[in-house]
Every structure is written in structure tokens, then in C-alpha cells.
């Protein structure tokens, strides 16, 4: 259904025809369609890899699940790679795809400041789909949290003193 909609309605709001009475149709923004047709960063990392943080979130209202994984460079705390897997509507898929693109190359503290409103604006999500961007924001936070939790477990297991100071970053 989405593909049909995508093929038929490949139009941005600004090019919609102007009429005396404007009924605003709901189109998928071309960026959403792009992410759907050419998905970036789809896939998985090994969950047990200590440098990988996995965020698994869901939106029970629509039955969506979103998995976002980040690969972090231990020394610098920078996110070097990201993957996602989302089962849901086009907007949810696009939101998580955008999220993986945006977190790459950023520090963990930085990505926690990514807001759902930014994602929604980037994709021109209609109000009814704003919760999809919220889901993406939560997925990022969950992934970072998971990585931190893993790290604290391994460092305490090693009997080392965790003097990394990254703990303060988690929002």
C-alpha cells in the first residue's frame, strides 16, 4: 500500500495545485519516500559486542517496533556506525533511518540532544505521524543507555575504577 502511495504521490506540499478551496492532501514527503525506497543503514550488529549499544522501543498504539544499534569507539566515545531495523509505517522507517544517519560521527552526549521535532521537521511529518519521530528519539536514547550499561558492567567486572566521566552525560 505504501509503495502504491509512494509512486502515486511523489509530490511535496509546495507543488500542490492551488484551488479556490484548498483541501490539504496528506502526501508522503519526498524525503520519507526516499528513505523508504533507498533505506540507509538497515541491518544489525552483534548484540553481544561490547562496543554495540542496542535500543529496542515500541509504540503500542500502532504496533510499531524499532531497533536502533550504535557502534561506539571506546576510546573517543564517538559513534562510528549505526544500524536500524523498524517494523511500522513509512514515517517510522524514515525517522529511524534519519536517526542512524544523524548519530554517525557524533559523540554520545551529543546525540542525546537530538529532538524528535528536528526529525519531524526534516521529514515534514504530519501531526498524526509525530509519534514516529518520538519513537526514533527514544530509540537513540535507549541505545546510548544500553551501551553505557554494558560498559559499566564490563568495567566493574574488570575491577577497574570507572573514571571515564561519561556517566554524567546520560540525560
Amino acid at each position: 500500500m505504501l509503495r502504491v502511495a509512494a509512486k502515486r504521490l511523489f509530490v511535496t506540499p509546495s507543488t500542490a495545485p492551488s484551488q479556490a478551496v484548498r483541501v490539504l492532501p496528506r502526501f508522503y514527503h519526498e524525503r520519507v519516500v526516499d528513505h523508504y525506497n533507498n533505506p540507509r543503514n538497515v541491518g544489525s550488529f552483534d548484540k553481544n559486542d561490547p562496543t554495540v549499544g542496542t535500543g529496542l522501543v515500541g509504540a503500542p498504539a500502532c504496533g510499531d517496533v524499532m531497533k536502533l544499534q550504535i557502534k561506539v569507539d571506546e576510546k573517543t566515545g564517538k559513534i562510528v556506525d549505526a544500524r536500524f531495523k523498524t517494523f511500522g509505517c513509512g514515517s517510522a522507517i524514515a525517522s529511524s533511518s534519519v536517526a542512524t544517519e544523524w548519530v554517525k560521527g557524533k559523540q554520545m552526549e551529543e546525540v542525546l540532544t537530538i529532538k524528535n521535532t528536528e526529525i519531524a521537521k526534516h521529514l515534514s511529518l504530519p501531526p498524526v505521524k509525530l509519534h514516529c519521530s518520538m519513537l526514533a528519539e527514544d530509540a537513540i536514547k535507549a541505545a546510548v543507555k544500553d551501551y553505557e550499561a554494558k560498559r559499566s558492567k564490563t568495567t566493574s567486572a574488570n575491577g577497574e575504577e570507572t573514571a571515564t566521566g561519561d556517566k554524567a552525560a546520560t540525560a
Binding site: L56, A59, V65, F87, L130, H131, M134
Partner: protein
């Protein structure tokens, strides 16, 4: 997250509602015989311990469902006309009074057979003459649906006034909505919760690792499945899960355990989505 619904009412009914919070008191301005006491008792057994605002709408029709209107009906509407509007309605065309019972909501006038405007206080269960139970085993929903459409469908009212045709369009749309909502367990469950003021929060995200991991796995399975045999297996497993959580919902809702009811609805939503995907693939 629980959300309470706001419903619009007529001003007088608002006043009535505010001044008469409990069920029995509402009828005190209108004189009733002592028969009424036993009926109030009867009614309170049926109604839930708490009464959110929405309930007051249902009081009028519940009231009549115990069938003693015929006794007091005449006196009812000879008293204050406005309060009566909510209990027994008048046909806009022939002005005959209709006494709504649980089995016969006022959608079409019996005397002149005119279609009435939509009354939002009549909920979907009342349209089908059902009590607000989740379990609808043995109920012939489709039969009643077709009966209503024979009376209400816009295609059958070409000869009538524009006003009535508009009513017909609205009424039959509402009956269609009612039928669709009640025929599927998940939508029925969500609707029943809504009637009690508990609405599904669109914004809510969950991070229950167990449930989400399970759903992820199943969805991946569906994606990778190549033959219809394995898909059918998944389908039957999902339908089984749906049924069992549906039962959980029934018990939870019955015992007013809304937390558990919401959890059941969540699970049912997820399993329904998987079922939709499998069906699409088959």
C-alpha cells in the same frame, strides 16, 4: 496514560448532570412511584461502582431498559419537557414519542418511519441492542446490521426530504462504524475502554524488552519466510496468542483492572499487526 474524554451536552442536561451526580437522584425532580426503588436497586447492581461523566448519558436509556416506562411514561413527559428529551425522544416529523429501550434505540420512528438525527449518546452496543459485554458469542451482529441498513441506507430514501436523506447518511455511517468496531475483538476492546474514559495514548512508547524482542523476532521470521506453509503456522500461532490475550482482557476489564486491560490491548495490537503482515504476504 489515561485520558478522559469530554463530551458535549445540552445546557440543561449539563445543569442536571452537575446537580445530580449520582444515578438515583437524577430522577427525583420527576415524581415516581415507590416501584422506582426496586428498579434503582436493580440498576445499581448492573452499573459499575464508579460513574465517569460519560455514564450519565446512558442513564436515560438504561432506565428504560428495565421496562417500566409504560407505567410512568405519560407522566414523564408531561413534566419538564427538556429533561424528557434525553429519556424518551420525540420524532421530528410526526412528534410521536419514542420510548427507547435497550433493544430498540431510537434511530427510526415507529409511527411515521422517519429516520431520526444521530444521537451520540446512544453508543454502539445500544445500536445493536447489546449489553456492554466484551464476549459476544452467539450474537448475530451481521443480521442486526443488515436489518438496520434496510431501514437506514441512503439508497432507500431517494423519495424523502433532503433533511431526512442527510439523517439517513449519518445514521447508516454510524451503524457501519458500530458494526466494524464491535465485530473485531481488538477494536471492541479499545471501544469499551473508551466508553469508560480510558483512551489509548498515541504518544506513548514502551521499552519492554521481552515483548519487543519477541515481536521483532516474529516479524523477522515473517519477512524471511518463503513458503506459505510456515507463514500459515505463524498465522495460527498469532491468532492463538490473540485469543488468549483477548480472554485476559475480558477478565481484566471485568474486574476493572485497567492496567492489565491496557497491557492486553497492547499485546493484541502487536499480534494483530503481525497477522495483517502475514495475510498481506499470503
Amino acid at each position: 496514560m489515561l485520558k478522559k474524554k469530554n463530551t458535549t451536552t445540552t445546557t440543561l442536561f449539563n445543569i442536571l448532570r452537575h446537580t445530580t451526580p449520582s444515578v438515583p437522584k437524577q430522577h427525583s425532580p420527576l415524581t415516581f412511584s415507590s416501584h422506582s426503588n426496586s428498579h434503582f436497586l436493580h440498576k445499581s447492581l448492573q452499573s459499575p461502582p464508579f460513574s465517569p461523566k460519560d455514564r450519565s448519558f446512558h442513564n436515560p436509556t438504561w432506565f428504560y431498559s428495565f421496562g417500566y416506562l409504560t407505567f410512568d411514561g405519560k407522566r414523564l413527559y408531561s413534566k419538564s419537557a427538556e429533561s424528557v428529551k434525553e429519556r424518551s425522544s420525540r420524532c421530528w416529523n410526526c412528534h410521536a414519542v419514542h420510548e427507547s429501550t435497550a433493544a430498540a434505540p431510537f434511530l427510526v420512528c415507529d409511527s411515521c418511519r422517519c429516520i431520526q438525527p444521530v444521537d451520540d449518546s446512544v453508543d454502539y452496543f445500544e445500536i445493536f441492542g447489546l449489553s456492554k459485554k466484551y464476549d459476544l458469542e452467539g450474537v448475530n451482529l451481521e443480521g442486526k446490521y443488515k436489518d438496520w441498513q434496510k431501514k437506514l441506507h441512503p439508497d432507500l430514501v431517494h423519495s424523502k426530504s433532503q433533511k431526512e436523506r442527510d439523517f439517513a447518511a449519518e445514521q447508516s455511517a454510524r451503524v457501519i462504524d458500530a458494526y466494524r468496531t464491535l465485530s473485531k475483538p481488538l477494536s471492541r476492546a479499545i471501544y469499551m475502554m473508551k466508553l469508560d474514559g480510558v483512551e489509548v495514548d498515541e504518544e506513548q512508547t514502551i521499552s519492554d524488552p521481552e515483548l519487543l524482542a519477541e515481536i521483532m523476532e516474529i516479524r523477522e521470521e515473517v519477512e524471511e519466510a518463503t513458503d506459505s506453509e510456515s507463514l500459515k503456522q505463524i498465522l495460527s500461532k498469532m491468532e492463538e496468542n490473540l485469543k488468549s490475550w483477548s480472554n485476559t482482557f475480558a477478565t481484566a476489564f471485568q474486574s476493572r483492572n485497567f492496567e492489565e486491560a491496557q497491557e492486553s490491548i497492547r499485546r493484541m495490537t502487536y499480534y494483530s499487526r503481525v497477522i495483517d503482515e502475514v495475510v498481506k504476504k499470503l
